[in-house]
């Protein structure tokens, strides 16, 4: 009798557990669906040609997001150039040269901390280094702040991918008489290129929606400008300002901008994941 009861109790608690897990998964997917739905409902409706051809307006007049889109693209491009340059080299050092050295461990740890460090603190740091000394907000400062956020992602993926390459590859290169540096560049980087590209895409996805570090560095700009030494318009800041404004047309623009960023990020994420999957297969 007792064992029958025990079995019944185990069955019931297991059923409850299974049910809970199904509900949890449903809840998580429901949130994704709800957020995507609001973006489609409010955002896609507000997207039109004007968004890409006109600059941010004063309340009540027609306008678009041209200056903000271009500013964002400029800053992200510069940030990615910096991040890939530094990140790939730093990742290479961690994978190939650092070994088990104490300094290597410190750098690896620091990179992991930077990977999740609050982005607003990076913004404050860049404000102190690049905005205050030059007496002005600038798009370049914004780029540097974004680069600081993207670099740890590239470093981490580069290190991981390069460590996956078989040692024989490295040894073969060196045995053929190539200096280690050439073996790394010509053989290992080539073998790891897809993985490094994935890391770059993930880093880009991460910074393209970042707002907090731009608030004190790039600031914002109501007008069209390609001059990155001046305050530069950017999508996240425009969304932040317009969403909190009291004007319906500005709020609509903010939704359009949010949809633009979110779908870009989703697309880049999907491409990165597909690439990563292809590499694992081959």
């Amino acid at each position: 009798m007792a064992s029958q009861l025990l079995i019944a109790r185990r069955k019931i608690s297991n059923t409850a557990f299974v049910g809970f897990c199904w509900v949890a998964a449903a809840v998580a997917l429901a949130f994704l669906a709800m957020i995507l739905w609001s973006l489609i409902e409010h955002g896609l409706g507000a997207l039109n040609l004007q968004i890409f051809t006109m600059d941010t307006p004063a309340p009540g007049s027609p306008g678009g997001l041209r200056n903000a889109i271009i500013g964002s693209v400029e800053m992200c491009a510069i940030a990615m150039v910096l991040a890939v340059g530094f990140g790939v080299l730093a990742g290479t050092w961690l994978a190939e040269y650092a070994g088990d050295s104490a300094y290597g461990k410190v750098v690896r740890f620091v990179n992991d901390v930077l990977l999740s460090a609050p982005s607003i603190l990076i913004g404050l740091f860049v404000y102190y280094v690049l905005v205050q000394p030059f007496h002005g907000f600038s798009g370049l400062a914004g780029s540097v702040a974004l680069a600081l956020l993207a670099t740890p992602v590239v470093t981490r993926t580069t290190e991981d991918v390069m460590k996956l390459q078989p040692p024989a590859l490295r040894e073969a290169g060196v045995a053929l008489g190539s200096p280690l540096a050439s073996a790394i560049r010509r053989i290992l980087w080539r073998a790891s290129s897809t993985g490094i590209l994935t890391g770059g895409l993930l880093a880009f996805a991460r910074i393209s929606g970042e707002t907090a570090p731009l608030l004190f560095t790039a600031l914002n700009n109501q007008f069209f400008s390609l001059d990155l030494t001046k305050p530069t318009a950017n999508l996240p800041s425009v969304i932040f300002n317009d969403a909190l404004s009291a004007y319906d047309d500005l709020v609509r623009l903010a939704w359009a901008g949010a949809a633009l960023i979110a779908f870009t990020v989703l697309l880049v994420n999907i491409i990165a994941r597909t690439l990563a999957r292809e590499t694992r297969r081959s």
Binding site: N14, F17, V18, F20, C21, V23, A24, A25, A28, F31, L32, M34, I35, S38, G85, F86, G87, A90, W93, A98, V107, F109, V110, V113, L114, S116, A117, P118, I120, I122, L124, F125, L148, T151, T155, T157, D160, P179, L180, A181, S182, I184, G199, A205, R206, S208, G209, A212, L215, F216, P236, F240, A243, L244, A258, I261, A262, N269, I270, R273
Partner: protein, 330 residues
């Protein structure tokens, strides 16, 4: 060995020693050194950046720390006009929102991870896994807008107002839920944070539970254990250390999150009186006030706040990394 072959070998060895081959080799050595130095410098830049962040916060925040001392952390008067700054409100707001978010997110994230590892039909495993990861990739400003325009009004209409109308005055419920019914409060901010860290924790937990060797789980099933018993008594203990690390990583994200919270927490510096009261976090205060700071002391107080945030998140993240060891978490 025939003498001719021996001679040929000697010749070959002699040829490799010949000087013409040395020149390119030495050039390669120099390039080797330059390349290694370049890699080393890039890696060191990361360390320099972290030290730079700490240094900037220390230098910028020093006037405020010097003037207010420990009182900065335990008083809650925040007055730019009289230049009296106490950060207890934002500090407590940061800790409360993050912990409430973690309490809300953790069970769901755990459920999602177990679902993906144990129950999910194989056909859906990858799409659902990717969907969870995508949810983790959505920029925080989008979460902020969603919170402001969708969650907050719904919460005010369907949760805050009914409670406000029906809770007996003076009861515990009424005390816990007092506040302006506009949906911009500590609890909604925590809910948004929970939605943001949920997919992140779920993805890491899933990856961890995948590392439990199949024979270990299978032997538990073979002994007649139910799924729940396998998960709770075999899989989870197997990854316990790293799982705690994953949770703390999620906590670290919640502590430093800026935009999503700034949109929805109501931005009041007072010490929060209830879960439905508006409040502020360290990050939201900095985001709102830094560019409009009225004086040097105001700016310094905001940077000192940043220093507090740095120290809290650094501690949490360092502990998380120590627990996670080498588990992958990009």
């Amino acid at each position: 060995m025939p003498a001719t072959l021996k001679l040929k070998m000697t010749l070959a060895i002699d040829q490799t020693k010949a000087t013409p081959a040395m020149a390119p080799k030495r050039r390669g050595g120099a390039f080797d050194a330059v390349f290694e130095a370049l890699c080393f410098t890039s890696a060191s830049t990361l360390l320099a950046a972290l030290i730079g962040v700490l240094g900037a916060l220390l230098i910028g925040g020093w006037p405020a720390i010097h003037k207010f001392g420990f009182g900065f952390l335990v008083t809650s008067e925040w007055n730019p006009v009289t230049e009296v700054f106490g950060a207890a409100g934002p500090v407590v707001g940061t800790i409360i929102t993050s912990i409430v978010a973690l309490v809300l997110a953790l069970p769901v994230a755990f459920g999602v991870a177990v679902f993906l590892v144990e129950f999910c039909p194989p056909f859906f495993r990858r799409p659902i896994g990717v969907a969870v990861e995508l949810l983790a990739g959505i920029p925080s400003i989008v979460y902020g807008m969603w919170g402001l325009f969708v969650l907050a009004p719904w919460f005010a209409m369907h949760i805050q107002l009914p409670i406000l109308e029906n809770a007996p005055p003076g009861s515990l419920l009424a005390v816990l839920t007092q506040g302006v019914p506009n949906g911009a409060n500590i609890l909604t901010a925590s809910i948004i944070l929970a939605i943001m860290i949920l997919p992140f924790i779920a993805a890491v937990l899933r990856d961890l539970m995948m590392t439990v060797p199949a024979p270990v789980r299978e032997s538990a099933y073979g002994l007649g254990a139910t799924t729940m018993e396998v998960v709770m008594s075999v899989s989870l203990p197997y990854v316990r250390r790293s799982a705690i690390g994953a949770v703390m990583l999620g906590l670290g994200r919640a502590l430093g999150e800026t935009m999503a919270v700034t949109f929805i927490i109501g931005n009041s510096h007072a010490f929060p009186k209830s879960l439905f009261d508006s409040g502020s976090t360290i990050a939201s205060t900095i985001a709102n006030e830094f560019n409009e700071a009225t004086g040097a002391m105001h700016t310094s107080a905001l940077i000192a706040l940043g220093l507090v945030l740095f120290l809290i998140t650094f501690t949490v993240l360092a502990a998380a990394r120590a627990l996670l060891g080498t588990a992958k978490t990009v």
